[in-house]
């Protein structure tokens, strides 16, 4: 069905299946992505709480562990060593790919690109539908891998070979890893179909008057994100396929002169480091695939709720483009200590630290947008402020890690875990929460409860920093990540062991509080979707086009003509206007400057 077929909106009847299951409507597909991502996120949060119990109270019997893992993986309520690594691996994989890539981009690119560009639907509804269902299948495969006899993939979410190639080295590298690789291959197919669709829609289906420089920053962020995805995800697929060949056909792309158990393997001539290069060539742009949509969403929300234009609109676009470009030439900073040529390491130090400049511009522009604003603290706005804080707090520790001379002392310690959780995990999830609270009326035609939203925010913010702030100290103390426990420290430094254990208990307690706080959100979300207050057309007094569509979803978005656009979307509190907002569809007055 082409978008043009919908220009006269008949009431064509849709069956339950075409409307709710195999829907080609971008709004429904966006909601499908969101609900799937919420379910995946719940699983990933539970997994993290399970391994946090082990880290906080190592070796103590826990009924929570036996409740979730049973006697196989938690005999006597004590976590199995192999399963610990499995939990860590699947937690990371689900969060990075299924929640923050599929969930964040899938939900909001789908929902907002046609609505904010002024299009009837995505360029290809069919591809869009396939994209969701591939995402669904890959989610099922990933969840299924948790239940197999040898356990899920457990070589860390970065699955470095040869550990991920030989199941003799770790049981999780048996069928668990095969499922992981299959799931990821399908996931990438889903992501590529989605990204191509987003790019085409943004470039070709903007309404009359919607110049690129009149696009909301959300769309700019989704656009650059989609380009990053199209350019980097195929590299992950090739890396994954080569690994499947190493595992099943005896090729040696990544393996070289290894002995497994007592068996001398013949595979020779490959390089484990090659995999790291391929993986991080995706892996680093991936960080921005996760982060940029969150920054885009919050740019919109901060401007809307501060009732001020976003400060430095063009600089914001420039920063997004600069970050997107730079993200492709920094992957080596994950590999300073793999024995890579020190000169090459130096080049990566340089390119990586350059990213700090556009990031700083973005951070200061956010802060200046708040200055002399008239700030409404909706839950969406609260989470956006949380994002700016975590983006700064996590970003600046990146300066330490990008510096190879310092990285050599803290590489692969909890300092790294703290850094990327704050800058990427928290920022992206805060952005996602902000987006859900803000555009919920657009998705479900109802309002979420704002008081519950506020409680959710404050609990989440405090527990998030409660988890990751102390973690920096654990890392600077030299505690390696992916350790089942720190009993080794009792043999060489009791003081440090004391600190690690003190902080690990605090971290675990905050993790549990933070996890429980999400129940408030889940409840609010599902309750409001069915019983929440019915929304009005433009509840937040926003300027962009999605607020000109009717509350009830219709196929094709606008009942009549697609509106024409005359101005940028940030005319908030413009002098000379009675209201503090001006819709993009309002023509410029005579002599009025655009901005």
């Amino acid at each position: 069905m082409s978008a043009a077929a919908h220009t006269d909106h008949g009431h064509h009847h849709e069956s339950f299946i075409t409307k709710y299951i195999f829907s080609q409507d971008h709004k429904m597909i966006g909601k499908q992505f969101l609900v799937t991502a919420i379910i995946m996120a719940c699983v990933a949060v539970v997994l993290s709480i399970l391994f946090r119990i082990q880290l906080g109270w190592p070796g103590e019997s826990s009924s929570v562990l036996s409740f979730f893992l049973g006697d196989t993986w938690a005999p006597n309520g004590i976590l199995h060593r192999g399963m610990y690594l499995g939990l860590v691996t699947i937690h990371g994989t689900i969060m990075v790919f299924f929640v923050l890539t599929g969930g964040l981009s899938g939900t909001f690119s789908n929902l907002l690109i046609p609505l904010q560009c002024g299009a009837r639907d995505m360029a290809s509804g069919m591809l869009n539908m396939i994209s969701y269902w591939l995402f669904f299948i890959s989610s099922i495969l990933m969840l299924y891998s948790l239940f197999i006899e040898t356990g899920p993939a457990s070589a860390g979410w970065t699955i470095y070979p040869p550990l991920s190639v030989y199941e003799e080295t770790i049981p999780g590298s048996g069928s668990g890893m095969t499922l992981w690789l299959l799931s990821m291959t399908i996931f990438v197919a889903s992501s590529l179909l989605g990204s191509l669709n987003y790019i085409v829609t943004i470039l070709n289906l903007r309404t009359k008057g919607m110049k690129m420089t009149r696009l909301p920053l959300t769309i700019w962020a989704f656009f650059v994100t989609a380009v990053l995805g199209v350019l980097s995800f195929p590299v992950l697929v090739s890396a994954v396929v080569l690994m499947l060949m190493d595992r099943t056909m005896g090729t040696s792309f990544y393996v070289n002169d290894a002995i497994v158990g007592t068996e001398i393997l013949e595979q020779s001539g490959g390089s484990p480091i090659l995999f790291e290069h391929l993986f991080w060539f995706l892996g680093h742009p991936e960080v921005y695939i996760v982060l940029l949509p969150a920054l885009g969403l919050t740019s919109e929300i901060v401007a809307n709720n501060a009732r001020k234009p976003i400060f430095g609109y063009r600089a914001m676009i420039g920063s997004i483009l600069a970050i997107g470009f730079l993200s492709f030439i920094v992957w080596g900073h994950h590999m300073f200590i793999t024995g890579m040529n020190p000169f090459l390491g130096g080049v990566f130090v340089f390119t990586t630290l350059l990213i700090a400049i556009p990031s700083a511009v973005k951070a200061f522009n956010y802060i200046t947008t708040l200055w002399k604003g008239n700030i409404r603290f909706t839950p969406a706005m609260l989470f956006s402020i949380g994002l700016v804080s975590s983006f700064i707090t996590g970003g600046i520790t990146g300066i330490i890690l990008a510096d190879s001379a310092l990285d050599i002392a803290v590489h692969d310690t909890y300092f790294v875990v703290a850094h990327f959780h704050v800058v990427m995990g928290l920022s992206a999830i805060f952005g996602m929460f902000a987006g859900v609270y803000h555009w919920f009326p657009k998705m479900y035609g109802r309002m979420m409860n704002s008081k519950l939203g506020m409680v959710h925010f404050w609990l989440t913010l405090v527990s998030a920093y409660g988890v990751f702030f102390p973690m920096h100290f654990v890392g600077i103390g030299g505690a390696p990540r992916r350790y089942y426990d720190y009993s080794v420290y009792t043999g060489f430094d009791e003081n440090q062991y004391g600190m690690i254990m003190d902080l690990n208990v605090i971290i675990s307690i905050f993790a549990i509080i933070g996890g429980l706080a999400q129940v408030i959100f889940i409840f609010n979300f599902f309750y409001s979707a069915s019983r929440g207050q019915v929304a009005v057309q433009n509840p937040w007094k926003g300027n962009s086009l999605e607020w000109t569509t009717p509350v009830e979803h219709i196929h094709g978005n606008w009942p009549g003509e697609i509106p024409e656009v005359h101005r940028w979307p940030y005319d908030y509190s413009k002098p000379g206007e009675a209201e503090d907002f001006v819709l993009q569809t309002v023509p410029l007055k005579e002599g009025e400057e655009e901005h």
Binding site: I264, P309, I337, G373, I399, L406, A409
Partner: protein, 391 residues
């Protein structure tokens, strides 16, 4: 099962209770004609002041943790380059803390100060080139300083070792490290993974090891051929799958044998000499103020040799030799006085996920004087030395 049922029932009841509360809330909203998107000034102001409370708690907790845990309780760097790294860390921390405090303070303060008031209109301020230039140029300048200082230190760390650096090999395998000292000649003997067996755990190449390995492979192959023959004659019963597996395995061993035999021509007595004075140890004894050039190898998967006290780390990659140098500057005894902890020890930890027992993979590191090193090396009954097996 009973427990799970009770938990389930409690959850269901809780959900129902909350849903009822929500209905009460809905009704009161309706009666008061209140809409979710309306701004309740009182609530808005509470959120604004919570911003300041949060900021205070945020900075307060940072100061408390800095006071209590300082440098993560790691003692002063015990290597020469580690001291440079610590200095560089401090410079970077100053910049990082400054940015952290200023930006977070501005963010939360502005959020507090400019909270909504119905009579006020926000200031229309879309852009300002001077300001934007300011926060492009200042971070760029700061980055330039960080990059230049960082790369200078990095080049020092990764540069060529001095001529008198002692060469030591660290060999990693699931789940232990072994050290191989290069001995008098300061040259490590060659090694090859195909020679690894019970008596030659590091695969060191000597004529003796080569011939030993060849005869070992020969006899294994012979035994297997025997078994295969017996199965074919029906004298010994193996399952079909097992005998097929045996055939593949014996073919593979023959190919390996062929390659080991070919190696014999490549190595001669001159390579023996290099290996002859090598000796291995289960712990790493280093001499104070002596520079070391470490060579890292791995037997199975990627490991990482992490010396937290020396601020040093390098991956051990199967099939590759990676290198790192450093010079310890405090003995274990000196460090014990410095930390005030009589039980303090240096350690080498594995810091790359390498299997289920990853967290138990480590090696003790001792730093002592030259005399102490000699005593350690020559001590009778030092179970940590495995001298005999290299020769």
């Amino acid at each position: 099962m009973g427990m799970k049922l009770i938990v389930l029932v409690v959850i269901v009841l809780a959900v129902i209770a909350v849903a009822q509360l929500m209905r009460v809330y809905e009704l009161t909203s309706k009666i008061r004609n209140r809409r979710e998107e309306d701004i309740d000034l009182r609530v808005n102001n509470i959120n604004a002041s919570l911003m300041m409370w949060f900021l205070a708690a945020f900075f307060g907790s940072l100061i408390y943790m800095l006071y209590k845990y300082g440098n993560g309780l790691l003692p002063e760097a015990a290597s020469e380059h580690g001291q440079d790294i610590d200095w560089l860390f401090n410079i970077n921390w100053i910049i990082v803390f400054f940015v952290f405090v200023v930006t977070n303070a501005l963010l939360f303060f502005f959020a507090y100060k400019y909270t909504y008031h119905p009579d006020r209109k926000a200031y229309f301020f879309p852009h300002d080139n001077r300001l934007e230039m300011l926060w492009t140029v200042v971070p760029a300048g700061a980055m330039a300083v960080i990059i230049i200082l960082g790369l200078m230190t990095w080049n020092d760390i990764m540069g060529k070792p001095s001529d008198d650096a002692v060469v030591v090999e660290i060999y990693a395998e699931q789940f232990k490290f072994t050290a191989r000292y290069s001995g008098e000649d300061n040259k490590l003997g060659y090694s090859d993974y195909k020679l690894v067996n019970g008596t030659n755990p590091l695969g060191v190449i000597t004529t003796e090891n080569l011939t030993g390995r060849i005869s070992e492979l020969d006899s294994t192959i012979k035994v297997m051929h025997n078994d295969i023959e017996k199965t074919e004659n029906g004298e010994k019963a193996f399952s079909l799958a097992a005998s097929e597996k045996m055939v593949t395995k014996v073919e593979k061993l023959e190919r390996i044998l062929e390659r080991v035999v070919a190696m014999q021509t490549g190595y001669s007595d001159s390579s023996n000499v290099l290996a002859e004075d090598d000796y291995m140890a289960k712990e790493l004894f280093l001499i104070k103020d002596q520079e070391y050039q470490f060579i890292f190898r791995s037997r199975d998967v990627i490991h990482s040799a992490y010396f937290p006290h020396f601020r040093a780390q390098m991956n051990c990659v199967p099939g590759q030799r990676t290198k790192l140098k450093f010079k310890p500057i405090f003995t274990t005894a000196e460090m014990r006085t410095k930390t005030g902890n009589p039980k303090f020890n240096y350690i080498l930890l594995c810091n790359k996920i390498c299997g289920e027992s990853h967290s138990q993979m480590n090696m003790a590191v001792i730093v002592g004087t030259t005399e102490e090193f000699k005593a350690w090396k020559e001590a009778e009954g030092n179970t940590n030395l495995i001298v005999a097996s290299v020769k």
